[in-house]
């Protein structure tokens, strides 16, 4: 039993890596534009289907689908930006409905193109078991955990050191003041969407290589990413990372101790708890949200 719990802690940690990528993309866009992109999960899913296409059509490793996934996710991200920025009034609520609509379009486009079947990678190399003492996982899980950590570190560096990253943070904290400092807010918003697209494409390929994909998965990915950002409190990269790992571990413990059907429920219950007890999130500032 103890071994099982250790093992589920380990696999929860590994799955937390790609959750962090999805949640960070959502949080980044929310930061600059104050828009929650409800089509974010579908963007990730689209990238995952690109990996599926590469593997099933061209019989190459899904890892090589990365450039294709990058292009697809970034194109969708820029399209979403373009549409959202055209909203005239009441942007906060109208953008929700608009991105909800875009999500429906993407889900159904995926359904029309690739049917409702469940897909997962057939590459045996990726599914090879890797064992360290009591911990074991698939090679793909370990690889993508490493990749996500590198990407998260790169993102952290970008946000804190590079000019554009700092511009993104400036626009997030005070749009008008950032404008006065010579930052073009529109360009910064596009950049934040593109970065979200890049994160989504890595997460998408990881999703396909480590698990199963199906057209209806998009909205539950968005929900999960949102739960993580609430858990973490907006505006903290390490917070999102810890939140993702927490959700990942909670989920895998639920699967081990109770039932796999309750996996999704765990995140929701954690979310409820945080809402009731710590409405600012585990790492959020004391400022009121919203």
């Amino acid at each position: 039993m103890f071994d099982l719990i250790l093992q589920s802690l380990y696999s929860g940690l590994l799955s937390g890596g790609s959750y962090a990528l999805i949640a960070l993309g959502l949080a980044l866009v929310f930061g600059t534009m104050k828009v929650i992109n409800l089509a974010h999960g579908e963007m990730v899913l689209l990238a995952a289907y690109m990996a599926y296409v590469m593997e099933s059509r061209f019989a190459v490793s899904p890892l090589l689908a990365m450039p294709l996934a990058l292009v697809a996710a970034c194109l969708v991200a820029v399209a979403v930006y373009f549409l959202v920025s055209r909203i005239g009034k009441n942007r906060e609520l109208n953008s929700l409905i608009l991105t909800f609509g875009i999500g429906i379009i993407l889900t159904n486009a995926i359904l029309i193109t690739w049917s409702a079947d469940i897909h997962s990678t057939s590459s045996t190399g990726l599914q090879e078991p890797v064992t360290f003492g009591p911990f074991s996982s698939m090679l793909s899980e370990l690889t993508f955990f490493g990749v996500s950590m590198v990407v998260v570190a790169a993102l952290w560096w970008w946000l804190s050191r590079s000019w554009y990253g700092r511009a993104v943070r400036a626009v997030s904290s005070n749009r008008d003041a950032a404008k006065l400092m010579g930052i073009n807010p529109h360009r910064t918003e596009v950049v934040s969407f593109i970065v979200a697209g890049i994160l989504a494409s890595v997460a998408g390929v990881a999703l396909y290589c480590t698990g199963v994909i199906q057209p209806a998965l998009g909205s539950s990915l968005t929900t999960k990413a949102f739960i993580i950002t609430v858990l973490a409190g907006i505006g903290s990269v390490p917070g999102v990372l810890v939140g993702s790992v927490l959700i990942g571990i909670a989920e895998s413990l639920t699967v081990t101790l109770f039932s796999s059907a309750l996996q999704e429920l765990t995140g929701m219950v954690l979310f409820l708890l945080v809402l009731f007890v710590l409405p600012n999130g585990l790492f959020g500032s004391t400022r009121r949200r919203g």
Binding site: F30, V35, I36, L38, L83, R86, I87, G88, K89, N90, E92, L93, N94, L96, I97, L98, F100, G101, I102, G103, I104, I105, L106, T107, N108, A109, L111, I112, S115, A116, S219, S220, T222, T223, F226, I227, V230, S259, A261, L262, E264, L265, M268, F271, L272, L275, F276, P279, R289, G290
Partner: protein, 326 residues
Amino acid sequence: MKLQRLIMVLILLYGVVPFVLNGNNYVMSILVASLTIAGIALAWALLGNLGGMVSFGHAAFFGVGSYISALMTMKLGVPVPLAMLLGGIGAAVASIAVLPALRLSGPYFALAILAYAHIFKILATEFASITGGSGGLLGIPALPTLFGYNLGSKLGAYLIITTIVLVFAFIYSRIRNSYYGFALRAMHDSEDATRVVGVHSTLLKALMLFLSAFMTGIIGAFNAHYINFLEPDYAFQSGWTMLPVVAAIFGGYRTLTGPLVGAVVVYSVDQLILKSIIPSGHQIVLGALLGVMILFSPDGLMPLLGKKLGRRRAETVRTPQTETIC
């Protein structure tokens, strides 16, 4: 003038429509389904317009209402009309779980309620001993016979759902024109200012949420007794959220008639035309419609039509006036 129009609509709904379409079972069933959507769309618009909250979780209330009503009749032998009412109350009680989300503003509430919709679906699947799990419930008692007339027939179901929707619309309009409606509308402009004047904004919003959930629950209960079958994937499917959202936005969620007309138009077009062109994934058009409406006419079609018609009427009024002067 307004009363005349109301009477015309009533005659149309209770007299002309059943008389003309009664023979055609297919069209009747589409009409009943579209009115079901219309009822949810109205409840959604009530929350959106008066409460100022966008919900992506009405499927939860729909499913809870349908399950409670179905289980009440099947396990406890409660008569169907009473069970439907209990279904509505159950959905309102379920909405208590969403209350902490009321503390959150706009986008947070919308996403929190989306998460809740997932919870209820999982619960319905997991508590198989009560709900029958993913196998579903078969043989849910049909709508009763009243004065020797079987309301379970297509026409009977049509009359019931029409009545329910009309009653809801009446309640909605009464609230909108009451003191509470005034306070709620004031909250749109500035919640803080309204609070300072002494309006308990959170309580009012919670009441709107209860009412919206209650209405949706009753509609869900009606649907359960109408189709006599339930399963978690059906009762909590995202379509029960999506179609009403599209309908309300398309028709104009700030108006009373918008969601109703929108639901009938959107659902009929979806079922009669789109489904035959694109068998799976036909909802892509609805997603596109949602996007186009938000971008080009966020107030919906009804106000747009009203504006166009109003302009034309203004023109026609002006011309005879000049004639009489001459």
